[in-house]
């Protein structure tokens, strides 16, 4: 598909979807990467994939597949965010590894069942790699809804999230309601990742969560500036990745990932030359 054949009525929702997915994933990434738990994004998105796979096996299609995906994502997000691994003499990385491999195992088990049951796994594979065909205006409205919800939450709890990001123990010691704020954030994380799933795919979400935030941390100081920069870079990556994909006929997910990785490279170069 070349850009010259672009039909705006068809591709406009995809572009808007790319911008929204990039902005919301970039904003989430500020906290996920800021806490050095970027693997949380991978775990949650793959748990969503596992949920979607079994939803598809149960006969769900299109937007309905979001429900089991959301269930899988929420279970993973809450398990990771609320787990106290030190009680079991382990750490967060081990728990994340356990959940990630478990989710992947379930997802591939489910994928293996499609031919056995004589069903098509096309919809689910499209989720895994991201597909332009999935994004239409109803999807965009959904994405816009969760993006607004996320930004509203992040603006209203900016000072609490900042304190939690610095140290959950210190925040609790200072009388901040850590459990309420952190759990709400995790639920929103699961919601945003699941809804974005349709546009960029499970594997691509990880890059949009990690790369814009990493680039923002290289460029600016302060949590508000980091949040705005990461959201802007995420939106830019989502849009630019799509446009490159449209012009070159390359897979959209891959171009978005490579573009966002390139943004980190440029940010690192800029920082090294600024000093």
């Amino acid at each position: 598909m070349m850009l010259s054949t672009l039909d705006l009525a068809l591709w406009a929702p995809v572009m808007v979807g790319g911008v929204l997915a990039g902005a919301s994933s970039g904003a989430l990434g500020v906290y996920i990467v800021g806490m050095r738990i970027p693997f949380l994004g991978v775990c949650v998105s793959h748990a969503a994939l596992a949920g979607a796979v079994f939803g598809a096996l149960a006969g769900l299609k299109g937007t309905w597949m979001l429900l089991p995906a959301l269930a899988g994502a929420m279970i993973a997000a809450l398990a990771l965010g609320l787990a106290k691994p030190e009680r079991f003499r382990t750490d967060n990385n081990t728990v994340m590894n356990l959940l990630f491999t478990g989710s992947m195992g379930l997802a591939f088990l489910g994928l293996g069942l499609f031919p056995v049951l004589g069903k098509s796994d096309h919809d689910v594979r499209a989720l895994l790699w991201g597909s332009l065909n999935y994004c239409r205006w109803p999807d965009v409205w959904l994405m816009a809804g969760v993006t607004i919800l996320l930004f509203l939450f992040l603006v209203l709890t900016a000072k609490e999230m900042r304190a939690i990001l610095f140290s959950r123990t210190d925040a609790a010691a200072a009388g901040i309601h850590v459990t309420l704020v952190w759990t709400t954030f995790l639920i929103l994380t699961a919601l945003v990742l699941t809804v974005n799933f349709q546009t960029v795919g499970g594997l691509m979400i990880f890059s949009l969560m990690t790369n814009p935030a990493a680039a923002a941390f290289l460029l600016v100081r302060g949590s508000n500036r980091a949040l705005a920069t990461a959201a802007a870079l995420g939106a830019f990556s989502g849009l630019a990745g799509f446009l490159v994909s449209a012009i070159t006929d390359l897979p959209t997910g891959a171009t978005i990932v490579l573009w966002s990785a390139g943004v980190v490279g440029v940010a690192a170069w800029f920082r090294s030359h600024r000093r």
């Binding site: 050095r36 000072k159 200072a174 600016v220």
Partner: protein
Amino acid sequence: MNSPVIEAQDLRVVMRGRCVLDVPHVSIHEGEFVALMGPNGAGKTTFLRALLALQPIAHGSIRVLGQEVHSLPWRPLAQLRQKIGYVPQLQPITGDMPLTVREVASMGRTARAGLFKRLTAEDWRQVDAWLEKLGLQYHAHHAFHELSGGEQRKVLLARALAQEPALLLLDEPTAHLDLGWREQWVQLLQQLHLETRRTFLLICHELEVLPPACQRVLLLRAGRLVADGTVQKVFEGDRLSDLYGEGFEVWHRNGRHGVVPGGAP
């Protein structure tokens, strides 16, 4: 005597089936500057965490500012915690977010401002005032992780003081600092206590970091309170040898204290 700010009774903390803290009774009164000392693993930080209800207790009670901390529902506990300034041990930075010094210090006003509410101009004025008081105003917009260990601890102190606490808990604020920074901290704590007259509880290992304002030492060993009194009284006789082995001597001069290896020439 003033009313107790901290009062622990029959306190016992158990971790993984092992009793790590067993204190029959201890009380700290308003305006006192008390040091909590003892060898590694004696239970000092556990005691501090239990005061904040960050560490569950197996038995007994702890009253802080007149309230039983371990039986409080969440909201009153949060309100109580807002009155307790806590300067934790300096941990390696675990996040990548380039939070500014001003943002970190402002966390002391976060709970007080309330959920979903922005910090007011008065909140920021308090934050800036404490940063200036501690000589950090020029670092206000620097990233916290770009500061030295000594400066980072001062930011954490500014954060705790911005809370306007009735009780200040300091967990080894001078650990791993060079001599110059350490002495700065001693003078700072002395000055702050004289000016604010708040209750200070300082965890430390070295007698050298006790400011003259510190008139009382609680000594823990293997989770038990083995001494409670003035520095001279607590460290008289063979106490140091009992705790750390033979060959230490304690000196006291002008309200300051120190340890020298007894066998040194």
